[in-house]
Amino acid sequence: MPKPVDVPYLKPVPDASPDDARGAGTHDANAVAQRRAEEALIVDVDGFEGPLDLLLTLARTQKVDLMKISVLHLAEQYLVFVEQARKLRIELAADYLVMAAWLAFLKSRLLLPPDPEAEGPSAEEMAAHLAFQLERLDAMRQVAARLMGRDRLGLNRFQRGAPETVSRKRRTEWQAGLIDLMRAYARLKTRDEFRPYAFDRRDIYSMEQALDRLRQLVGFAGDWTDLSDFLPDGWDVHGSRRRSATAATFAASLELARQGTLEIRQDDTFSPITIRRKPT
């Protein structure tokens, strides 16, 4: 099988290609390379980024400014390429075939005299647009190369290797208004007002205390004894304490008399009250 000289882009796949389109299931690189060398012709269509890229590459072989490209010739080149691929039983991707069909159509339109009745763009307009597209793609390729060739950060230009981080400090601003202050003070001052009511028992001698004391003492008091003698120590001097103790003890004596434990006697109004254990 002769190598197609006029279609330079149909070329053997490089040995290193990982993409084993032919389905050789072996990983033995030598065996693959050998078999490929024997078959000799595998189209490197994958090397093209689509039909437009292929067209651009083919256009370059015309060695003219893309603006002056012969679209007719280009269409023919493309169709030869596709024909060659087909002969070599190479499966081209669908978009390559679609492009081929479109270029065959364009070629026929370019060769025929213009049909004034035909709708849509003329063959020349279609050809011009294709040339524009090729030129634009070519231009993008060139500026992409210029872009990649610039002084790039991390390759030619470098940023500070030890950037100093900006620390974010949090400052707390404490808020309090006059109203908060007054409210707090009001809260403090009124808290006292709500303290549970508690009677001051310091100078109070309760009837329970008097009853307990009388019950204990009256057992020994067989004779009439002045009530004031039953007042507890410390409660018989100071006025208010004495009053409280006297009242409580008197009340307790009444209670015990009611229960029949003791007897009460008062000889006269305001005369001393005396009590004794009720004789049994």
Binding site: P18, P51, A93, L137, V143, R146, R150, G154, R157, P163
Partner: protein, 223 residues
């Protein structure tokens, strides 16, 4: 080092701003400390009230002219970068660059020169579908981001290049892209409706898979 600026508290708007030499020192310190460009606005926020960071930058740029590090304008911001001619000294700092695929490089160039540009427009220029991975890679590098949606049927997303892109390629702005004016003059940046002339577009139905010609593992060839 022992200078103290009682008026350097940004929270004290009533003090006069420090003298321009001090402002210059402050801007210098902030820009030196930052790895990424700092905008004039950010500088103003961090400097004491009343400072003129733009003026300080002008002074600094001329001061650093021709030095080992230079003050570069990058988009809205400024950053110190080592002089490009000294890159050869930086073997230890050189960042391993993942080699971009041809598809990625072309797509990047198209976005830079045609921005804002939709995916369909990119495909129309390249004549092949743009694989999801290609755009993802550019977005991951933070060189490309989504722009505003186009107000056309389907409201397609557009893509634009970023400040990181400008920084990486040492561009002050997207207007400084090499050859931009020539391309524009040649009419090569105008978008023409692709349907007008009926040139077939390789447009696979499966948008996300797209581009059968670029296997994903091809995206990052080893350097």
């Amino acid at each position: 080092m022992t200078d103290q600026f009682p008026d350097s508290d940004p929270a004290a708007p009533d003090f006069p701003p420090p003298p321009i030499e001090q402002q210059q020192r402050m801007v210098e310190a902030i820009l030196f400390a930052a790895a990424t460009p700092v905008s004039v606005r950010e500088l103003a926020d961090r400097l004491p009230h009343g400072c003129d960071p733009a003026e300080a930058i002008r002074g600094l740029r001329s001061l650093y002219q021709g030095r080992g590090v230079t003050l570069e304008r990058i988009g809205d911001g400024y950053a110190f970068r080592t002089a490009a001619d000294l890159g050869f000294l930086m073997q230890t700092e050189t960042v391993e660059q993942r080699k971009l695929s041809r598809a990625a490089i072309e797509t990047l160039a198209i976005i830079a020169y045609h921005q804002p540009v939709t995916r369909t427009e990119i495909e129309e220029i390249r004549g092949v579908a743009v694989s999801r991975g290609t755009l993802d890679q550019l977005i991951e590098l933070e060189w490309v981001r989504m722009g505003r949606r186009r107000m056309t049927p389907g409201r397609p997303a557009t893509f634009v290049v970023t400040e990181t892109f400008l920084d990486h390629f040492g561009l002050e702005s997207a207007r400084d892209l090499p050859g931009l004016s020539e391309l524009r003059a040649a009419g090569l940046l105008e978008s023409r409706p692709p349907t007008e002339t009926g040139i077939p577009m390789a447009e696979p139905d499966d948008e996300d898979e797209g581009d059968p010609g670029i296997p994903a593992e091809d995206l990052f060839e080893d350097e």
